[in-house]
Amino acid sequence: MLDVDLRHRLGSFELDARFTAPPGITVLFGRSGSGKTTIINAVAGLLKPDAGRIMVDGRALLDTAANVCLPPHARRIGYIFQEGRLFPHFTVSRNLTYSRWFTSGAGQPADVSRVVEMLGIGHLLNRYPQSLSGGEKQRVAIGRALLSSPQLILADEPLSSLDEYRKAEILPYFERLRDEVSVPILYVSHAAAEVARLATTVVALQNGKVIRQGPAAEVLGDPSVTPAGAREAGALIEARIVAHHDDGLTEVSAGAVHLLLPSLGQPVGATARIRIAAHDVILSRSRPEGLSALNIVPGTVHEIRLGQGPGALVALDTPAGRLLARITRRSLRTLELAPRAQVFAIVKAVSIAPADVGN
């Protein structure tokens, strides 16, 4: 458990953030300049905030009232940096075991082989970082942080320097991290899809303030919280895989609703987190017929949020969970939508990309 309460002023920017990170991945979600990196660097001890308190499992890393400010090397954190920051003069193997020199119990051979296997970097051990691809570097960086036997893992946009293909390569490792490592993980991101796949808890930040925090599905389904902009909005539903069909579709059930998606890798019976982008959802007042779209979900309007421009975000309560739809204000008028109105949400199966589906 990580408790953070920080105040810091940097020129005209003012940070005033308070949140709690339970086990699992807590994503600090916001645009660049919202204070995400300031917070994570304060937790790491690379930046000393004006005032605040940071506690990990009851141990104070920082408490300005009690004049406590541990240096970074005494904080027992594993920091996965945006650009990897591997030591260029060491081999992958020595990068991984670097912390063994300083921390008792860190980098034990048994742990090394377990982490190396989990990250699939066994064939890289004798190479130098210069010769690795971006994705390989980042996997080594994850391993290095894990092997310092940290009590808290920090990750500062670890995927943002990678292309889509490499991102898809690394995301599963963070999912495994979330499910297999018991320490809390604080993860900075501005990408909604990444948040939807990884987050256990979301802390939404705007201009240095926490505007919302809570379980991922709850925060992402709230139309008033769109730290990445309404364009990036999308709800998160939890589903169970029911069947894999011959025509390349996978059938999942969420609540009482069955949905069809492009084929997923997970076995029947496994659960999946599915992000449904708000701009991929069409609304209709009556159940449509003769439509190519495969997924039609009945629901009621919960809340409508008008945007700055011609758009609006509509939050729906459906048996599958909260859904978000991004439509125009004109459609809003034509359909006479208001809270408690009955609607049908239409989602094309192919609009759900594999990157939107996580474990």
Binding site: G45, H89, W101
Partner: protein
């Protein structure tokens, strides 16, 4: 010749730790008087060597304001000894050494040192395991340059410790001495060729190391 090598080697090795420390302070720390320190380090590069030698004589000579106490309390005398030649050579070579090391420290990404800290390394360990290995080519290049400069140092040396054969007569002062006597030219020429060879070798070696440093800084 052997004396010259010994003087240059001792001057280089003895001033290396202080050189690394000074370079690190100039590259990384902010403190009052930083520009003054920077100027002081570089002074021997700009001053006429004779002036440096004379100032050394005033300060470190037997009757000098520092030298007399060194003599009284510790029995250490620099003036007109080979150790004095070491001191003069070290001071004259110091700016070259510091410059080279400082450049290499500035090329080290501080974010790598931060990474070391988050992995549990105290600042001293970060320096030993991250900074030092990364600046090693710069240190070597600086040491080689300093060594070459120390081999060739003449003005400050002859002013401070004179030109006593077997005691303080380095290669340059020997060349000078040979040129003062009729028929000494062949002997002088032999020493000249040796000097040129040593200087060229040092320069090439330092150039090679600098290139390796640049390649490594770019490749990380």
């Amino acid at each position: 010749m052997a004396l010259s090598l010994r003087v240059a080697a001792v001057a280089t090795l003895a001033s290396l730790p202080l050189g690394i420390f000074t370079a690190y302070a100039l590259a990384r720390w902010r403190f009052p008087g930083k520009q003054l320190l920077n100027g002081l380090v570089h002074l021997p590069l700009i001053l006429p060597p004779v002036v440096t030698g004379y100032l050394l004589l005033l300060a470190m000579g037997r009757k000098g304001f520092i030298g007399q106490y060194l003599d009284q309390w510790f029995g250490i005398v620099f003036a007109f000894r080979w150790t004095g030649a070491v001191l003069a050579a070290a001071i004259m070579a110091f700016p070259l050494m510091v410059r080279s090391i400082r450049l290499s420290i500035e090329a080290v990404d501080p974010r790598l040192e931060q990474a070391g800290a988050t992995l549990g390394a105290r600042p001293a360990w970060v320096f030993a395991t991250v900074t030092l290995p990364l600046i090693m080519p710069g240190i070597l290049a600086g040491a080689i340059l300093a060594f070459a400069k120390a081999m060739g140092e003449f003005g400050a040396t002859i002013t401070f410790v004179s030109n006593i054969p077997g005691q303080t007569q380095t290669v340059p002062s020997a060349i000078y001495a040979f040129l003062q006597v009729p028929g000494g030219e062949p002997s002088a020429m032999r020493l000249v060729i040796i000097s040129v060879a040593v200087a060229m070798a040092a320069l090439l070696l330092s150039e090679l190391l600098a290139r390796r440093l640049a390649a490594r800084a770019g490749g990380s």
